[in-house]
């Protein structure tokens, strides 16, 4: 859809192997090639253990790639260190699955959100506090929440606070790793709406990882399907059901339960029963 121009982030031939003491090494990523274009949202789906999180960690330097390159704006970033790594992180932010674990239990929510602004010296303390309140409201929380401790927020509120922190830095890329899996559907929907709104407003690029095909399809432009450490195919999300042809993708789609289909089914059956009864 927005595939025009050069990619903002490009993975080529990335491999990640976890060495395990006394056990066989795990090849979490094998020759992964992927590109993310400006303003795009790239979805990644796949079975548990297929390497989705590993990919995100490699991009954000939480893990060192075993081989291959990752290019960000034409700069190879897998060997960055120290200050340049810090500067890169400002541009590539990440939202994790378990929001509760991200919070320093002894830091109030306001400070949590304002901290990056101070760390990158983007503004003075006073201004940061102002900005924090703005961000809180932006993600649908109240400015009052700044004075709360993290455990005083609900899961959905926590996840929104995490997003507020990530967007505060105005990064170019945000990675979401199972960012909504811990939330129930209605709150998940709120967060997804927030994401789509943000994209519209700021044009931020994002990578959205989830095992829920339907959710990914809803937010992303393209979907990469991972299976056993490889990207087996990349399809346009709009054309997912029609154009996906890898057998794994198809099995994923077929196992997913669909409420709508169920409803249709049941209504159909009921009608049959009614018809039969009336006969």
């Amino acid at each position: 859809m927005i595939n025009a121009g050069s990619p903002i982030l490009k993975l080529s031939n990335v491999c990640k192997t976890y060495e395990m003491k006394g056990r066989q090494a795990v090849q979490a990523l094998q020759n992964v090639d992927l590109a993310l274009y400006p303003g795009e949202c790239l979805g990644i789906v796949g079975q548990s253990g297929s390497g989705k999180s590993s990919l995100a960690k490699c991009v954000t330097h939480l893990e060192q790639v075993t081989s291959g390159e990752i290019w960000y704006h034409g700069q190879e970033i897998t060997r960055l260190k120290g200050e340049s790594l810090r500067q890169m992180r400002k541009q590539i932010q990440m939202v994790f699955q378990e929001p509760a674990a991200i919070f320093n239990p002894r830091m109030k929510v306001g400070m949590f959100i304002g901290e990056p602004l101070l760390n990158y010296k983007m503004m003075k303390r006073q201004a940061a506090a102002q900005e924090t309140r703005r961000l809180l409201e932006r993600v649908g929380l109240s400015a009052m929440d700044a004075d709360k401790y993290p455990h005083e927020l609900s899961g959905g509120q926590q996840q929104r606070a995490v997003i507020a922190r990530a967007i505060g830095l105005r990064p170019e890329i945000i990675l979401f790793d199972e960012a909504t899996s811990a939330l129930d559907v209605s709150i998940q929907q709120q967060v997804l709406d927030l994401l789509m709104e943000l994209r519209r407003e700021t044009g931020v690029s994002s990578i959205f990882i989830s095992h829920d095909l339907a959710v990914v399809q809803q937010v992303s432009d393209r979907i990469a399907v991972m299976h056993q450490g490889r990207v087996v195919e990349v399809v346009d999300s709009a054309k997912l059901t029609s154009s996906a042809n890898h057998p794994y993708t198809r099995s994923l789609m077929s196992s997913a339960l669909s409420l709508r289909e169920l409803k249709d089914d049941m209504q159909m059956r009921e009608r049959v029963v009614v018809l039969a009864g009336s006969r």
């Binding site: 997912l240 996906a244 409803k263 049941m266």
Partner: protein
């Protein structure tokens, strides 16, 4: 068994105006009432923190630390369970009412093998020798689609994958063919394929043994797929309870409608 199940008057569970609250906090269950027939499957959905887990743990008399019954009663097989609390459940748990917890692995003792706990649980209710209990356990595990039940029996919880632990728990709950099975998000740790497999096992149990089941889940589709009736919880209240088709096609409550709208659907046809 069959005779008990037959009559319409013989309810499996009846809950009347049950209220539960934690320490100083607001009540987590407020005036919840419903009844359930033997062999019936009820799905419970609702917002996180709405009291779903509290509800089914209340049915087992095992409220989380700090939880208190503040009103109402539970009647199981015409017997009032909430008279003097703990005593009422003696001999019920495990045998007649069984439970599968959400994060099932953590409900197993980490320093005892699965086998020893399984055998212990069986022998707590049935007059069986160790050997017989072991055999029964192996049999039930195999039925849950676990390839190597002997290995599972000898393993410790930490040596099993999430999916294996979950299926083990279900097997432990099912072994004694309880009259009521309480399942709190039994498939959340499983990927879609395994999830389907486990759900099939559970429905078969209900069909074969006449076990009534209460299934708590986030996943509307799963609830709709499994349950005959669906209940929706909000803020500790059971705001809606009705036949599955009616609830998903024609919800009464505003919140149910919101919930249904939020369910993500794969776009396009793929079959």
């Amino acid at each position: 068994m069959t005779s008990l199940r037959g009559g319409t008057t013989s309810l499996l569970v009846e809950m009347k105006n049950l209220s539960v609250s934690y320490k100083e906090g607001v009540p987590s269950l407020r005036d919840v009432s419903f009844s359930m027939k033997p062999g019936e499957i009820i799905g419970i959905v609702g917002e996180s923190g709405s009291g779903k887990s509290t509800l089914i743990r209340a049915l087992l008399g095992l409220l989380p630390v700090g939880g208190r019954y503040t009103g109402g009663e539970i009647i199981f097989r015409e017997r009032v369970l909430l008279r003097d609390s703990q005593q009422d459940w003696q001999g019920m748990r495990g045998k007649r009412i069984a439970m599968v917890f959400q994060d099932s692995g953590s409900y197993l003792n980490p320093i005892r093998s699965i086998g020893s706990q399984y055998v212990e649980a069986i022998r707590a209710h049935l007059p069986m020798s160790r050997k017989e209990a072991w055999k029964l356990a192996i049999h039930t595990l195999a039925r849950m689609g676990l390839d190597d039940p002997e290995r599972v029996m000898h393993a410790y919880a930490s040596q099993l994958s999430g999916g294996m632990k979950q299926r083990t728990s279900i097997a432990m709950a099912a072994a004694l063919e309880p009259e009521l099975l309480l399942a709190d998000e039994p498939t959340s740790a499983l990927d879609v394929t395994t999830q389907n497999e486990v759900m099939n096992q559970l429905s078969r149990l209900c069909a074969d043994k006449g076990t009534g089941m209460m299934l708590v889940t986030h996943n509307m589709a799963v609830a709709a797929h499994m349950a005959e009736r669906i209940g929706v919880m909000l803020d500790g209240r059971l705001v809606e309870l009705g036949d599955t088709l009616r609830v998903i096609s024609n919800p009464d409550h505003e919140y149910t409608r919101k919930l249904l709208e939020a369910v993500p659907e794969l776009e396009g046809n793929h079959t």
